[in-house]
């Protein structure tokens, strides 16, 4: 096992165990999309576009009482260490599904019956935690598109490296570490909307990690809010660290 935490308790990239990577969110980065955002979270660089609500084609797929949410998480071929084929992989299809299910509880889809809302995520550069960064950015893009929401959705992963529970794994930590657990929450409604885990955690580590993730999400939520406020009300620089 590679040593990922040094004697001072610092990680390879200098972070403490409960520290997230640098985070930057921009709103309204695309002109055609109804809403859009850009996030840098560590080395993750992701653009999100929202189109909709709009008419469903073919029409028989429309739902009479609410809008349909469709997410597409896609990685640019140059986003990964070795080139990724442009065609969606099974991994991308699964992540698209869990992202969609993580965002849906926050949206008031009943307001737009018979329509569809498309959320397109393009990962320009992938680091550990791209699905979490993607969820965080998607909510911002949905807000930018004016979709009515019950709450925001914020996501952050927690994991285990060198035997310790740590926040927000980067790529190396994800590959060399013992566990990775992405979590998404609605911070005001105190609800979990995404939870995945692979690796090995004792039930105690699970509880500890889950709480760390929830706290980190609350912090990231402030960055989300600031990005939206700056876009709509102010001109202060968005970003952190």
């Amino acid at each position: 096992m590679i040593e990922l935490i040094d004697e001072k308790g610092l990680r390879r990239d200098g972070r403490r165990v409960d520290e997230i990577r640098p985070l930057k969110i921009e709103v309204g980065v695309l002109k055609n999309a109804d809403g859009s955002s850009y996030i840098e979270f560590g080395k993750n660089k992701i653009v999100v576009a929202v189109y909709g609500p709009k008419e469903v084609h073919p029409k028989h797929l429309a739902l009479p009482d609410r809008s349909i949410l469709r997410c597409r998480y896609h990685m640019a071929p140059f986003s990964t260490d070795t080139r990724k084929h442009p065609q969606p992989s099974r991994r991308e299809i699964e992540i698209s599904k869990v992202i969609s299910e993580a965002l849906e509880p926050a949206l008031i889809l009943e307001d737009y019956p018979r329509t569809v809302i498309n959320v397109y995520l393009e990962v320009l550069q992938a680091d550990g935690g791209s699905r979490c960064a993607g969820i965080t950015a998607s909510t911002v893009a949905l807000a930018d598109a004016g979709i009515p929401m019950r709450d925001m959705v914020v996501a952050c992963a927690v994991g285990k490296i060198s035997g310790q529970v740590v926040l927000d794994l980067n790529d190396t930590e994800d590959k060399e570490g013992e566990a990775d657990m992405p979590v998404a929450i609605m911070p005001n409604l105190n609800q979990t909307t995404l939870l995945q885990l692979d690796g090995i955690l004792t039930p105690e580590e699970f509880e500890k990690g889950f709480e760390m993730a929830v706290n980190a999400c609350r912090h990231i939520y402030e960055v989300q809010r600031k990005a939206l406020i700056d876009k709509y009300f102010g001109k202060n620089e968005v970003g952190e660290e």
Binding site: R90, E94, E101, E104, P105, L195, E207, V214
Partner: protein, 276 residues
């Protein structure tokens, strides 16, 4: 469309009924909230496979078959064998399953089952290397969903585990010229643990285990957790667009951990004879 509209009405009535029962800590089929339906596991049913198992949970019926072949390792793990779990939701299995490539639900199912096995390190992939970087054992587990009545995640997982646990491994020898020959001999495939997947459905705020199709039709959220022999969590996946509050997440782990212990005994029993 009319079929859809009708099903919406039926679904609502059915949900009301299911919820009413749940409020009395009961289920439509008489089970308690945390009871499984009868589980029946048969192994060694496909002679041509290296291992196989049929699992029935209530009316849900799945078959897993293992094929062990020679493959090439992934470039980034040259000293690891391959383990691939694939699940096919066959059109036989319900009136709603269609022939064709797997949809996103089938892909999620396959990947969650695969992760549970992979992350538990049930099979030590580093022992499956023939020529490092070039030739390794490739273990393919294919799960056929034959009849669907809910809880496919657990059924597919148990079939996968039981088929792997009862597999024999063909012996291959590497000749001086690097050519690989299969020998007549075969040995049992070594396994390190029995990972157990437990899926909880949340309906109207209550958790139940082993949901039927009907219960799944009205559930708000689903959470699948896989445990190893020592009670560690090896994989987890929340599904469906419902949510879990923070306490429910912890509660789910506790419920699932207990159930996993019991199910592990059932799986162990089913593979005992084969391993003998």
């Amino acid at each position: 469309m009319s079929a859809v509209k009708k099903s919406v009405v039926v679904e609502r009535l059915r949900k009301a009924q299911i919820v009413e029962f749940l409020s009395k800590e009961k289920r439509l089929d008489g089970r308690g909230l945390l009871d499984f339906r009868p589980i029946k596991i048969e192994t060694g049913i496909i002679e041509k496979a290296n291992g196989s198992a049929r699992v029935r949970i209530g009316n849900t019926q799945v078959i897993a078959g293992v094929k062990i072949e020679i493959g090439e390792p992934f470039p980034d793990t040259p000293e690891m064998g391959l383990l691939v779990v694939n699940v096919e939701v066959l059109p036989l299995s319900s009136a709603y399953a269609e022939p064709g490539p797997p949809d996103e639900e089938a892909i999620e199912l396959a990947r969650v089952v695969d992760r549970g096995i992979r992350e538990s390190k049930m099979v030590d992939l580093s022992k499956l290397v023939l020529i490092p970087g070039k030739k390794v054992h490739a273990i393919f587990v294919d799960v056929d969903i034959l009849d669907t009545d809910g809880n496919l995640f657990d059924a597919a997982s148990y079939a996968t585990v039981a088929s792997i646990a009862t597999s024999t491994m063909p012996k291959f020898s590497v000749g001086q010229n690097g050519q690989i020959k299969q020998e007549d001999e075969a040995v049992p495939l070594q396994i390190n643990c029995i990972p157990v997947s437990i899926t909880l459905a949340k309906i109207d705020g209550e958790f139940i285990v082993d949901p039927t199709s009907e219960e799944e039709g009205v559930m708000d959220a689903r959470i699948t957790l896989t445990f190893d022999d020592d009670g560690n969590i090896r994989a987890g996946q929340k599904g469906q667009p419902g949510t879990l509050d923070f306490n429910q997440v912890k509660l789910a782990v506790n419920i699932a951990k207990d159930r996993a212990k019991e199910i592990r005994e059932i799986i162990k029993e089913s593979i005992k004879d084969a391993k003998g």
